[in-house]
C-alpha cells in the first residue's frame, strides 16, 4: 500500500515518458493531476486506518543485510499529515501548471519524480533510504530551477541551491554513519535504532553525530546562517517549483529533526536543546526583519519561510528543554511544531502560486510596480489577503493553531526566547499589512509595456482551483483542528517519551 502511494507518480512518469514528445501540455498535465488525486484518495484511506500507536502500513524488505540497510517504509502520526500535505501541494501545483507550455513533457516528468521522492522521505524508516530520497529531491529540484527558471541567473541559483543542500546532505550522511557505527549490531533501521538507543549516554560521539545531522538538516530547513541559498532559488524557480520547494522540501529538514535527531540522539538533544532554541529564535527574528526590507514579493515570501521554520525549531528545542520535567508543555510544543509544518506547507504553497499568477500578468515581482489591485482583480486580492492573514497567524487559520501551541509549550521552558519570538509575529503582521496596502490599495498601477497596454485579468478557474483548496484546508485546520491534532498527538507523545529517556 505505502509503496504504491510512494511510487505511483514514478510509474505514471515512466508511462508518460513512453508518449511521443508534443507541445500539447494537457496530455501530460492531466495525468499528473489525476495521479495526485488518486494519491490523495489512498492517503485518505490510510488516514482512516492508521493504527492508534506505532507505525502503520509497514513494509520491510532486506536490501543490503550485511550493512544493516533495508527497504523499510511506514507511517505514523508525525509523517502521515506531512504526506497528505505533500500530495495536496503537488496536486495544487499540477492544477496550476495545467497549461505549462515550456517543454511540458520533461516538466511533468520531473515533478512526478519529485513527488515520488518527496513522499518517500516522509515514509522512509531506514536512514539510507531517507538519505536517498532526500538527495534525489535535491537533484530533481535542481533541474526544475535550472530548466524552468525565470531569470538568466536561474542556472547559477540552481547550482547554489544544489551545492548548499548537497553538502548539507553529506553532513547528514556522516551523522547517520556515526549512529550506525555506534549501534550493535550495526543498523540503519530507524525504529531499531530508536529502540536500541546506542548513544544513550551522550558524550562526544553523540554530540558529533547531532552536530553533523543538525547541520545537514539546518541547511535544508533552512536556519540562519545556512539560509543564503533560499532567496535566489525561490526568486528564480517557476511558481509551481517554488510552491513545492517551500511547501514540501523545507519540511524535509524539520521532519528530520523530529524523526531522526530527537528520537535517535535523545541525550544530546536535551543537552543542546538550548542551542536549537536560540537558532530557532534567531531565524524567526532575522527572517522577519529581512522580509520586511524586501521589495520583491517572492523574496519576501521566501524570507517569511525562514521565519516560520524558526518557530518549528523553537518548538522542538523547547520540547527538548522540558523533556524530563513537563509532559504537557513538551507535548504542546512538538504537536505545535508538526502542525506548523503542515500549515506552512499549505499557506506558503498558496502564496507562491499567487505570486506566480501575479508574475504571469505583470512580468515582475517588484511590489512597487503594483497598486490598487483590489479594484481591478478582486479575486486575486481576496485570496492574497486571506493567504497573508493565514501566514501571519490570525486566529481561525492553521498558522494560529500551530504557533499558539508552540508558544504555550515553550513559554514555561524558555520565557525569554518565546517572548522574543512573539515579536516575530508582530513583524510578519506588519510586513504582510504593508505588502497588502502597497499592492492591493491605492491608485490602480501595474507594469505596462509602453504603448501596448497589457491586459491584466483576474485569476482564472485553473488558478482558483489550485489555490482555493490550499487556503480552504488551512482555514479548516484553523477552525476544526481536532482531526489533525488527534492524529499527531499520540505520535508526538511517543516521540517525547523517546526524547525523555
Amino acid at each position: 500500500m505505502l509503496s504504491i502511494v510512494v511510487f505511483l507518480p514514478a510509474v505514471v512518469a515512466l508511462a508518460l515518458a513512453a508518449l511521443p514528445d508534443t507541445s500539447t501540455p494537457r496530455r501530460y498535465t492531466v495525468p499528473w493531476v489525476v495521479t495526485g488525486l488518486v494519491q490523495l484518495v489512498l492517503v485518505a484511506v490510510m488516514w482512516l486506518q492508521l493504527p492508534p500507536s506505532g507505525y502503520g502500513f509497514v513494509e520491510q524488505v532486506a536490501w543490503i543485510p550485511s550493512a544493516g540497510i533495508s527497504y523499510h517504509l511506514g507511517v505514523d502520526g508525525l509523517s502521515l499529515p506531512l504526506v497528505a500535505m505533500t500530495v495536496v501541494v503537488f496536486t495544487a501545483a499540477a492544477i496550476y501548471s495545467l497549461r505549462e507550455h515550456q517543454r511540458p513533457k520533461s516538466y511533468v516528468l520531473l515533478f512526478l519524480a519529485l513527488q515520488t521522492v518527496s513522499v518517500g522521505v516522509f515514509v522512509a524508516l531506514d536512514l539510507i533510504l531517507f538519505f536517498l530520497f532526500f538527495d534525489l529531491s535535491i537533484v530533481f529540484m535542481y533541474f526544475v530551477i535550472a530548466g524552468w527558471g525565470q531569470g538568466s541567473r536561474a542556472r547559477s541559483a540552481a547550482l547554489t541551491f544544489f551545492l548548499y543542500t548537497f553538502l548539507g546532505s553529506l553532513a547528514l550522511l556522516l551523522g547517520f554513519i556515526l549512529i550506525y557505527l555506534a549501534a550493535t549490531p550495526h543498523t540503519f533501521d530507524i525504529p531499531a535504532l530508536a529502540a536500541q538507543n546506542p548513544l544513550t549516554a551522550g558524550g562526544p560521539v553523540a554530540g558529533a553525530a547531532l552536530l553533523a545531522i543538525g547541520m545537514g538538516l539546518a541547511v535544508k530547513t533552512p536556519l540562519v546562517p545556512f539560509h543564503t541559498w533560499l532567496p535566489p532559488a525561490h526568486t528564480e524557480a517557476p511558481a509551481a517549483g517554488s510552491a513545492v520547494l517551500a511547501g514540501v522540501l523545507l519540511k524535509m529538514g524539520t521532519y528530520g529533526f523530529v524523526r531522526i535527531a530527537m528520537p535517535l540522539l535523545p541525550a544530546s538533544w536535551r543537552q543542546f536543546a538550548g542551542v536549537v532554541v536560540v537558532l530557532g529564535v534567531v531565524s524567526v527574528i532575522y527572517g522577519a526583519l529581512v522580509a520586511l526590507a524586501q521589495t520583491d514579493l517572492k523574496r519576501m515570501i521566501a524570507y517569511t519561510s525562514v521565519n516560520h521554520m524558526g518557530y518549528v525549531l523553537l518548538g522542538v528545542g523547547a520540547a527538548g528543554l522540558v523533556a524530563e520535567t513537563d509532559a504537557q508543555a513538551r507535548q504542546l510544543a512538538t504537536t505545535g511544531a508538526v502542525t506548523q509544518m503542515v500549515s506552512h506547507g499549505l499557506i506558503t504553497g498558496a502564496l507562491f502560486l499567487l505570486a506566480g499568477a501575479l508574475h504571469e500578468r505583470g512580468r515582475t515581482y517588484d511590489m512597487g510596480a503594483y497598486g490598487g489591485l483590489a479594484a481591478r482583480t478582486p479575486r486575486f486580492a481576496g485570496l492574497f489577503a486571506v493567504a497573508a492573514f493565514a501566514s501571519l497567524g490570525l486566529p481561525g487559520f492553521s498558522g494560529f493553531i500551530a504557533e499558539f501551541q508552540i508558544f504555550t509549550g515553550a513559554l514555561g521552558a524558555t520565557p525569554v526566547a518565546t517572548a522574543i519570538a512573539v515579536v516575530g509575529i508582530l513583524l510578519t503582521a506588519g510586513l504582510f499589512l504593508v505588502a497588502l496596502s502597497r499592492m492591493l490599495l491605492g491608485g490602480l498601477r501595474y507594469p505596462d509595456a509602453p504603448g501596448t497596454p497589457r491586459p491584466f485579468p483576474d485569476l482564472r478557474a485553473r488558478e482558483l482551483a489550485a489555490i482555493v483548496p490550499l487556503l480552504l484546508l488551512a482555514t479548516l485546520i484553523g477552525l476544526v483542528p481536532r482531526t489533525l491534532l488527534d492524529t499527531i498527538d499520540p505520535a508526538s507523545r511517543v516521540l517525547n517519551e523517546l526524547v525523555a529517556r
Partner: protein, 468 residues
C-alpha cells in the same frame, strides 16, 4: 606434497588472457590496419571465455593448484573484476586506438597486464608473486609509452625507472624473507617466520610491500601516478590506475594475512600508509586544474581507503567482503571517470564548462562517477566505504575510520570543483565534435550505470564475497 593438484583446467581465466594476448599479436601482425577491429573482437571473446571459466571455478570449494596458486573467493573475485575492467576498457577505447599503427599491441598489452594482476592476486608463493609482479609491470611499461608522443615517452621512462627500482627492492625483500623463514610458500611462511630472525623478516616484508605499494600507487611509491596518468592517453591511464592496483592490493592482502602480527606489527604499518595515502592524495588533488592529474591523485587517496581494510584484515571477518567489494566498486567507478574524460577533448576543469548542456548524458555519467568516488549513496563505492569504515571500527582502528571520513568530506570539494562547471553556462568557443569519442561516451555511461547497479545490488554481491 603427495596430493598434487596440477590441473591446467583450473587456470582457464589466466590461460584465456594469455591466449588472447598471443593471438592478438599474431592475428594483428597478419591483418591490414583498417581491419584491426577483429583483434579487439578476439580479445573480448578471450575475456568472455575467462569470465565463464571464473564463474564455473567459483562454484567449486577453495583449493590450491600447482602448489603455489590459490583458488579461493579472493582469486575468483579479482579475476572477475579484472576481466570486466579489461573488457570495458578495450571496448570504450575503440575510437582512441582504432586505425592506430600499434592497435593490436594495445590490446595484447592490456591483456597481459590483466593477466599479471590476476596472477598477483592468486599467488601464494613469494617467487610466483615476483613473477606476477613482472608480468603486471613489463607490458604496462610498454603500454605507458604506447602512444609514442613527447609526454608519453617521459611518462613511460618515469614509470619504468620507478618500477625497476621497486622491482629490485621487492626481489631483495623476497630474498630476505626466504632467508628468515626458509621458505617462499605462504602456507609454511608463518612457521618459518616464527623460528627465524625477526629483524630480516621485518625488513624483507617491508621491501616486498614497497614493490606492491608501487603497483598500487600508494604513498610513498605514488610519484609515478600523476605524471603517468597525465602523460598517457586516457585509455592507457585508465588501465594503469585500475588493473595493476587491484592485483597488488589483493596480493598485499593475501601475503599479510600469512604473516603473524606478533613478529612483524604490519597492521600499524599499513594503517599509517593508508592514512598518509588518503590524506596526501586528497591534499594534492585540491589544487589540480588538469582533470587527469586530479583523477590521478584521487586514485592515490582511493588506495588509502582500501588499505584501511587491509590494515584490519586479520582482526575482523568483515574485512574480506569489504575489500573485494571496494575493489570492484573502485574499478567500475574509476573506469567510468576516465571514460568520461576520454569521451571529450577537454583536459582542464574549465574546459568542461557547459558540458551539461551539450552532452547531458555524458555529464550525468561523469557526475555519477565522481560522486561515486566520493561515496554518495547509492553508488557502489558508498557501500565499499561503509563496509570499510565498519571494518576499521570493529577492527579496533576507529581513528582510521574518522580520518577516512574527514578525508571523504575534504575530497568532496575538489570533485565538486569539477562538477560545478559542467552545469555552468556554455563556454564561448564552439565544441569540436570531431575530437569527441562515441565509444568512450557509451563506456562512461555503461560504467556509471554498472557502478549504480553494483551499489543497489550490494545486498546480493556482498555475501558472495564473504565466502572463504
Amino acid at each position: 606434497m603427495v596430493m598434487m593438484n596440477e590441473d591446467p583446467a583450473t587456470l582457464i581465466p589466466e590461460l584465456a588472457l594469455l591466449a588472447g594476448a598471443v593471438l592478438a599479436v599474431l592475428v594483428g601482425a597478419w591483418t591490414p590496419r583498417r581491419r584491426q577491429g577483429r583483434v579487439r573482437v578476439l580479445a573480448l571473446v578471450a575475456v568472455g571465455v575467462g569470465l565463464i571459466g571464473t564463474i564455473t571455478a567459483a562454484t567449486k570449494p577453495p583449493s590450491t593448484t600447482f602448489d603455489t596458486y590459490v583458488l579461493d573467493t579472493t582469486t575468483h573475485a579479482v579475476r572477475a573484476i579484472v576481466l570486466v575492467s579489461v573488457a570495458l576498457i578495450l571496448w570504450w577505447s575503440r575510437d582512441a586506438v582504432a586505425a592506430h599503427p600499434r592497435e593490436s599491441e594495445f590490446t595484447a598489452l592490456v591483456l597481459l597486464g590483466g593477466l599479471g594482476a590476476v596472477l598477483m592476486a592468486g599467488a601464494a608463493d613469494l617467487l610466483l608473486l615476483f613473477a606476477a609482479f613482472l608480468l603486471a609491470s613489463v607490458p604496462l611499461y610498454a603500454l605507458a609509452g604506447w602512444a609514442k608522443s613527447g609526454a608519453t615517452t617521459e611518462a613511460a621512462l618515469k614509470y619504468y625507472l620507478s618500477g625497476a627500482f621497486a622491482g629490485v627492492t621487492m626481489l631483495a625483500g623476497t630474498t630476505l624473507l626466504y632467508g628468515a623463514a626458509g621458505t617462499t610458500g605462504y602456507d609454511t611462511l608463518p612457521e618459518g617466520l616464527a623460528t627465524g630472525a625477526a629483524g630480516p623478516a621485518a625488513v624483507g616484508l617491508v621491501a616486498v610491500l614497497a614493490g606492491l605499494a608501487f603497483k598500487a600507487g600508494a604513498v610513498p611509491a605514488h610519484f609515478w601516478v600523476p605524471d603517468v596518468t597525465d602523460g598517457t592517453p586516457p585509455p592507457v591511464a585508465a588501465v594503469l590506475t585500475t588493473i595493476p592496483k587491484i592485483g597488488a592490493l589483493a596480493a598485499m592482502w593475501r601475503l599479510l594475512l600469512d604473516v603473524p602480527e606478533d613478529i612483524v606489527p604490519w597492521p600499524l604499518l599499513i594503517a599509517v600508509i593508508a592514512a598518509v595515502s588518503m590524506s596526501l592524495g586528497n591534499l594534492a588533488a585540491f589544487s589540480q586544474s588538469s582533470v587527469l592529474r586530479l583523477l590521478a591523485y584521487s586514485t592515490v587517496s582511493q588506495v588509502g581507503y582500501v588499505l584501511i581494510i587491509i590494515a584490519v584484515g586479520a582482526r575482523t571477518p568483515e574485512a574480506q567482503p569489504a575489500l573485494l567489494f571496494y575493489l570492484a566498486a573502485y574499478a567500475l567507478t574509476n573506469i567510468g571517470a576516465f571514460a568520461a574524460v576520454a569521451a571529450h577533448p577537454a583536459r582542464t576543469v574549465d574546459e568542461f564548462r557547459g558540458l551539461g548542456r551539450r552532452r547531458p548524458l555524458l555529464a550525468i555519467a561523469l557526475v555519477v562517477s565522481l560522486l561515486g568516488l566520493v561515496g554518495t549513496p547509492p553508488t557502489a563505492v558508498f557501500v565499499g566505504k561503509l563496509t570499510a569504515f565498519t571494518a576499521a571500527f570493529d577492527g579496533g582502528m576507529a581513528w582510521l575510520a574518522v580520518l577516512a571520513a574527514v578525508n571523504t568530506v575534504a575530497s568532496l570539494f575538489y570533485y565538486l570543483r569539477w562538477i560545478a562547471p559542467l552545469f555552468r553556462d556554455e563556454s564561448p568557443e564552439p565544441a569540436d565534435e570531431s575530437s569527441e569519442s562515441r565509444t568512450a561516451r557509451h563506456g562512461a555511461v555503461t560504467a556509471a550505470t554498472l557502478s549504480l547497479v553494483l551499489g543497489v545490488a550490494a545486498g546480493l554481491i556482498l555475501p558472495l564475497f564473504a565466502a572463504s
